[in-house]
Point group: D2
């Protein structure tokens, strides 16, 4: 069941996630801990990766069945996580806490429009705190949804200091919200390394190609030149290396010789929208566990 | 190339379509007619159906390369069509004439929202003349896009006369615009036979199943009960028999045992949106030729 | 990891499956049982269905990490299953026991050919004990693979007794092998009720449509007449009602107005083959748990 | 309709293809030529590429409706092709001439097995003249189908001269058949430049990735390391640059974190088989027109 559905019901869930070196008894230990406390597990996922020797789990527990709140749960589950050698790779969240999102855009409307539609209909039950654009085009649609829009102008020519200043402004606006996700919804600027580091594991990008094909600029032009028969889109976490972060979701659509670059751009938009929306949903539902440069999506 | 792209360019196209009994020389006759007039064909599609013995064609001709306008073209091409025994199955349109659309909705926002997004961005270059709802929920989003919204209330209980009156009102609003397409964007009322007849070949419905599976009400519930592994959506022309009209486009998405009915509803929406948008685009670009209960989509 | 891969490695697995009424502590009880015995779980799947209140699980345990063999495991796990009210819905298998399969065919070669190819290459590590055909066409290819072929002729006209006798012969040949799966690989005869009952949960059929569309005979003809834009195939367990058993797997492929019925037949074959192969693999790996008329596929 | 279906019917077709600089009147000229001769066009495809200014067409004409045979047709159509500036980019074939194919393999059986199954069932109505392997493993299955198998051993270490000699032997075996297609069905050796040149436009390779991702060796390992969510296969013409020739067909299949490299290899095989079979069919039906490094697939 989705976070939205869980929120809609009278019964919030606690979501526990953990990644640690694999060994015997982890499932028993975690499930035993929840059961001993009287907790009802409504969804449980496990994965053992024989190549890396790593273990991953995600559990949804009916919050009302536990005799304690999230703070105590965090303390107790954290102790277990440390037992198994998980340093930072564990989390406890409540579906009752509404997730906060900041969206970065440029001129292209379709991903923003799609996300706002999902938020408005309640399908995506999140709190969009701000939209930041390096162009002003999307201010109107954003504000029509009651969401603040910040226009941060970027320098036109090569101006590293101007760019740095623009990113400093963006960071200030973003960080005050402590967002659970920073969404690059066809934001066409490359994040500086310090922002990649500061937002590690929270910044999601949609790239308009089936990565690792067609990294960088104008992927539909590259795809057209290469004569591929399918085009795609990739939702991935932003890391310092361009378009090389852990992949959360991908999808493709068929094209043919009749499709010009602009037809590809149009068809690709429909893929970009759903791939980004799925990736964001899974991220906010704590379904995505990152290990090295790969993801487990429960 | 799409209508939008053609419009965007300085060069409108004439679109000719024809369906008639197959025989030798039709391609030569039509292509010869265009060539003799000096016309440049930018896209040409032909299909011979050996089972029905029917021939179909669609041609895009660069308007500026012809020495006459659309009225003369209609006269001359109509004469050729009659030569080949095409009664009503031929059309001539100019991409310079902006297509008119009326949208019928109920409470579900996603298809309307998606269409308005495409219109706003210019991807779908059409004139949405009105949105008509049997509920008032979608009035705000419609009017925010500068489009008139008409709320036509339907009777609650069984009240055939009340229903008839409501449909009479709808018809009045629709017909004044002489729309090229009447889009049932998750409009949950069954059109009366006289409207099916009046709008034949212009009324497009999106049904939230992979037809002919799960005709009628609550298809996602039916799909869940049957335990299917893929769910779908179907865009079809409205005819007197419920959900049985000529199919324009279909698509599917994978589901599993982890998907509740509400998960299916959510996943299905993404398919409904794109299937309807594709079907509408093809209809408005005169790519859909209907013969019997089947379609040729060029 | 697949059964084949597990077999290939030096380390067989025990596979435990269970379906029972959902309640607190089941995961903890099962995982605790395995952990207390020193077992290493290499794959664990759980599913709670809120609508039916049913709980499902499948576990793979490294056999060499348990201090006892499959008989003792069966005794102990059976006791736990009974604790939780699972009557017949639990199983324990070892990947070291090679699965036995009997295949029923008619004239169409593609599914049989595909399965034999997978068996020959070792991809599908099963013991095909016999192929039974109501026609003799596929005898040669079967025997070329070193597998016995039985030709059981069916009466031409309406001859219920002759048919019954033919099915009695088939049953005799099948039952002596105590197969884990009876595969109807485009076997065009409807199984009598007593065979459906005798082989319940073991007889897999491939139907050449996207069920529940186009039940029964000549589904591609039905699909062509309806003018669908996608055709499909469905692998399902055989039950007394024709083409209505629990669905294991489905897939689709796009068709268009250019596809004749024979084109659909040809395209459909590629879907039938992979859908049947996937369904059979999952069945033999104990990944499919049936509850009512629906399946959980872990 | 497919070549097989056309062959099966009493009525062979002539297939005309042409690529030339676009200009007015080409359709009229070709269709007029066929019509004036009394020919019945059963399938006609046209494509104008605005970016390259190139025009492409493919026509199927019912052979019995023309008053002359293929030689005269070739003469007359060749004259027209030259009128429009097509140097080498035109062809005339009869579906009555059975196409000749040579297949190159290594150890992997699945693509060969799949092709032989299609040939045996008559789905692919071609004449497989020879199978050549740099290993002997696939000799038995090849010969069981009545097809000669040639084992050409390649040197183990770095031995350019030995390799050259092996390829010279292969070339000799291939060229004597004047095949319409040389199929590299998971042949793991890189063709030398002189063979790429000699077989230009006739040598089809199946690469086990979604090109241009994962060029070269071990693409599934590369895909696993990158953590992609879909894997694919690409059928392309062989050119001097490795895995960079014109793409004929591609397809993908979904993978997840649960798939090991060997699972990807297994899932990928099903995609490789159908992508190669589709590419080969289209090539042999003269549906693929190459221009620069891109293909038009009618």
């Amino acid at each position: 069941m989705s976070v939205a559905a869980a929120n809609a019901s009278a019964s919030p869930r606690f979501i526990l996630t953990l990644g640690c070196p694999d060994r015997r008894g982890i499932v028993a230990r975690i499930a035993g801990f929840v059961a001993d406390a009287g907790g009802w597990i409504t969804e449980a996922s496990y994965h053992s990766d024989p190549e890396t020797g790593w273990f991953f789990t995600r559990q949804e527990v009916c919050a009302s069945t536990l005799p304690f709140g999230i703070d105590e749960l965090r303390t107790q589950f954290g102790a277990i996580a440390h037992e198994f050698g998980a340093q930072a790779e564990w989390r406890v969240h409540s579906t009752a806490e509404r997730r906060k999102v900041v969206i970065l855009v440029s001129r292209e409307a379709h991903c923003l429009y799609d996300l706002l539609g999902r938020v408005t209909s309640g399908e995506l039950d999140v709190d969009v705190r701000a939209v930041i654009g390096n162009h002003a085009e999307l201010a109107t649609v954003t504000r029509a949804h009651g969401i603040p829009f910040h226009h941060i102008e970027f320098p036109k020519g090569i101006d590293p200091e101007g760019k740095q200043a623009a990113f400093a402004q963006i960071r200030q606006i973003v960080d005050v919200h402590e967002p659970d996700a920073i969404v690059l919804a066809r934001f066409m600027q490359v994040l500086p390394h310090e922002l990649c580091a500061a937002w590690a594991g929270r910044a999601l990008n949609i790239h308009h190609s089936f990565l690792p094909s067609f990294v960088g600029a104008r992927p539909y032009h590259q795809a057209h030149t290469r004569g591929v028969k399918l085009i795609g889109a990739t939702c991935h976490y932003v890391t310092a290396e361009l378009d090389a972060g852990p992949i959360v979701e991908q999808d493709v659509i068929r094209v043919s010789h009749t499709d010009s670059v602009s037809d590809m751009v149009r068809k690709g938009r429909d893929i970009e929208k759903v791939v980004l929306a799925r990736g964001l949903r899974w991220h906010l539902e704590d379904r995505v566990l990152v290990h090295g440069n790969r993801t487990v999506v429960f």
